[in-house]
């Protein structure tokens, strides 16, 4: 027999990984935008490639660092890579956007994305390996006891995100920001799930397909869930073109959506997807009931909540279908050895919901607190000027309309305007105008950006770490 060369599994890390990520993200459709919103162009996503050479995607962050900027960058990259499998067209047609269309779906873009995807997935989801661990011998009977014990419905108790909206200084703004977080998922709803429809795996495949038939409105476009969600968006004054609000997606919103793409794209995680699907479908009923109530409370009767009321009904079936028609038959067919992955998927999804709730609530507080954080500039800057606090400083000079696309930092920072005028963006419809001598405290992990409104703006960014240390 002729000698067979040794098989070497694919692995990318270090400088080679960084270079490959930069090669992918420097595609012209991924460069910074000069507006806060995208305009009916689903191929344009701001990946901030100029920052990527400084990020290390080899060291997997723990949960405590999962909202840092490298994670946001990884989630933006992954969303873009995953969505090259989906079909998007501008609502107004392709005319004038043909080049972007080809750039997004080109073999080069797709191949470059696939090359970096495994390393980015390790970076983005690796923390779940530490966060969730199963052990012991799981049987069908012990799984049933565990599933029966899960508190999936939440009842009438509001989640932290829901409380943040109702307690916000501007509940309508907070509720719009909340709906925007769902657009990456709901406009292409069930697309990750469809990844598990392909192939050939017996009766469960058909049961899986039934859930999707509901999501897609039985081929009647008016009843497709994404259509219902578009009506919700429109009724509260939001636009419905794909990724219009890309720059306002929080890290954890992308994390949650990407998680299902990650499990659906990598079929070795099929059973984790089954667990997460079961939990999603079972817990959505009460969530949607509360969402319907919340939106009506905030916007009055003008809001269209059919998207949510439809789920109150259909997910009662989907929760049951996921357990009786998918989960149970899969265990019957493939044995109890798949149960730990099912349990893992359930618990991982719960962790991600928790991360997302915390992230969103913190962002709403951050938006509400902008006037206070502007006032805090005075004492914090004083502490730096008097030398009571030493912090690395970056001196920046930017021209008119230089848009610092949204990002976040690993620690608190102080923005101080030396000359000129800046619009400081802290969320959808949330901004400050900063003049010379003014500034704002930028909190760790909070999404923000900036736009220069004067011919030129000279400003400083002081990396203070924890701004409270400047107030002692």
């Amino acid at each position: 027999m002729s000698r067979v060369p040794q098989h070497v599994p694919f692995e990318l890390g270090g400088a080679a990984l960084r270079d490959a990520i930069i090669q992918y993200a420097t595609n012209p459709i991924y460069l910074d935008a000069d507006d806060w919103q995208n305009h009916d162009n689903p191929y344009r996503r701001q990946l901030r490639p100029q920052i990527l050479p400084h990020l290390d995607f080899d060291r997997v962050p723990g949960r405590e660092n999962i909202l840092d900027y490298p994670s946001l960058a990884a989630q933006r990259l992954l969303t873009t890579i995953y969505e090259a499998d989906l079909v998007f067209f501008p609502k107004s047609g392709l005319k004038g956007k043909e080049e972007d269309f080809r750039a997004f779906y080109s073999p080069s873009n797709r191949a470059l994305g696939e090359k970096i995807r495994p390393a980015l997935e390790r970076y983005a989801f690796g923390f779940l390996d530490d966060e969730v661990e199963t052990s012991g011998k799981w049987t069908k009977a012990s799984l049933d006891s565990y599933l029966d014990s899960l508190e999936m419905n939440g009842g009438d108790e509001q989640s932290p995100a829901e409380r943040a909206i109702l307690g916000s200084a501007d509940p309508r703004r907070a509720a719009r920001m909340w709906l925007v977080q769902f657009t990456a998922d709901f406009l292409s709803e069930a697309s990750p799930m469809l990844r598990n429809v392909l192939g050939y795996y017996g009766p469960t495949q058909s049961e899986w397909f039934k859930v999707i038939i509901d999501e897609y409105g039985y081929g009647v476009h008016d009843t497709k869930h994404s259509t219902l969600f578009e009506r919700t968006l429109t009724s509260v004054g939001l636009r419905t073109d794909v990724h219009r609000y890309w720059q306002y997606y929080l890290n954890s919103s992308l994390l949650l959506n990407n998680y299902f793409h990650y499990l659906g794209k990598n079929h070795e995680h099929f059973f984790r997807y089954v667990g997460a699907l079961f939990y999603t479908e079972s817990s959505l009923v009460d969530f949607c009931r509360r969402a319907d109530r919340l939106l009506r409370e905030v916007f009055g009767d003008s809001v269209d909540t059919e998207y949510f009321t439809e789920h109150i009904h259909i997910d009662q079936h989907h929760g049951r279908m996921a357990r009786e028609k998918i989960l149970d038959p899969l265990i019957e067919a493939h044995g109890e050895g798949i149960i730990p992955d099912i349990v893992r998927g359930i618990e991982e999804y719960r962790v991600l919901l928790d991360v997302s709730d915390g992230d969103f609530s913190a962002q709403i507080s951050w938006m509400d607190d902008q006037p206070e954080l502007k006032k805090l500039h005075g004492p914090v800057y004083e502490a730096i000027r008097e030398g009571r606090v030493e912090a690395p400083v970056a001196h920046l000079v930017e021209p008119f309309n230089e848009l610092s696309n949204t990002h976040c930092h690993e620690g608190d920072e102080l923005c101080h305007i030396v000359s000129g005028t800046m619009r400081f963006e802290s969320g959808l419809d949330s901004s400050l105008i900063l003049e010379a001598g003014e500034g704002v405290v930028i909190k760790r992990n909070r999404l923000h950006g900036a736009d220069i409104l004067s011919d030129e703006c000279v400003y400083e960014i002081h990396s203070v770490g924890d701004y409270r240390s400047c107030l002692l």
């Binding site: 949960r63 011998k137 006891s145």
Partner: protein, 125 residues
């Protein structure tokens, strides 16, 4: 089967179900829920040493060795962060030593010190 959640470390790191105590142990970086009593004479297995290769827990009372793999395989559980959820079998899992019956028993939580050999490293989050 009773399903219980408890802390992997610190206060309330032990759940007592129907008179049988369970703790979360970590050996060689992998965690599991185990009966805190030695199957031999009911010694404090939560204070056990671990053999150098991690394959056995050694009870401090009579140095009776119990295979880690056996303990690890008994009680289905899932740890999420610093909490663990376990499905307790209806029958007592201790062999030899007569533990109280589990079925219908009360559930309570308490603290049990763990030997350093089986303590879960605590990370900030």
């Amino acid at each position: 089967m009773p399903v219980v959640s408890f802390s992997v470390a610190g206060r309330d790191n032990c759940v007592v179900v129907g008179g049988t105590a369970y703790v979360y142990a970590t050996v060689k970086g992998r965690g599991f829920v185990m009966n805190a009593q030695c199957p031999h004479r009911g010694g404090p297995l939560h204070l056990a040493d671990v053999t150098a290769d991690g394959s056995q827990l050694v009870c401090p009372w009579h140095e009776r060795k119990t295979a880690t793999a056996r303990l690890r395989g008994r009680i289905p559980s899932v740890r999420t962060g610093k909490r663990v959820t376990a499905v307790i079998p209806d029958q007592p899992v201790s062999r030899g030593y007569a533990a109280a019956a589990v079925c219908g028993g009360a559930t309570s939580r308490e603290h049990r010190p763990l030997s350093p050999s089986i303590t879960t490293p605590v990370t900030e989050s």
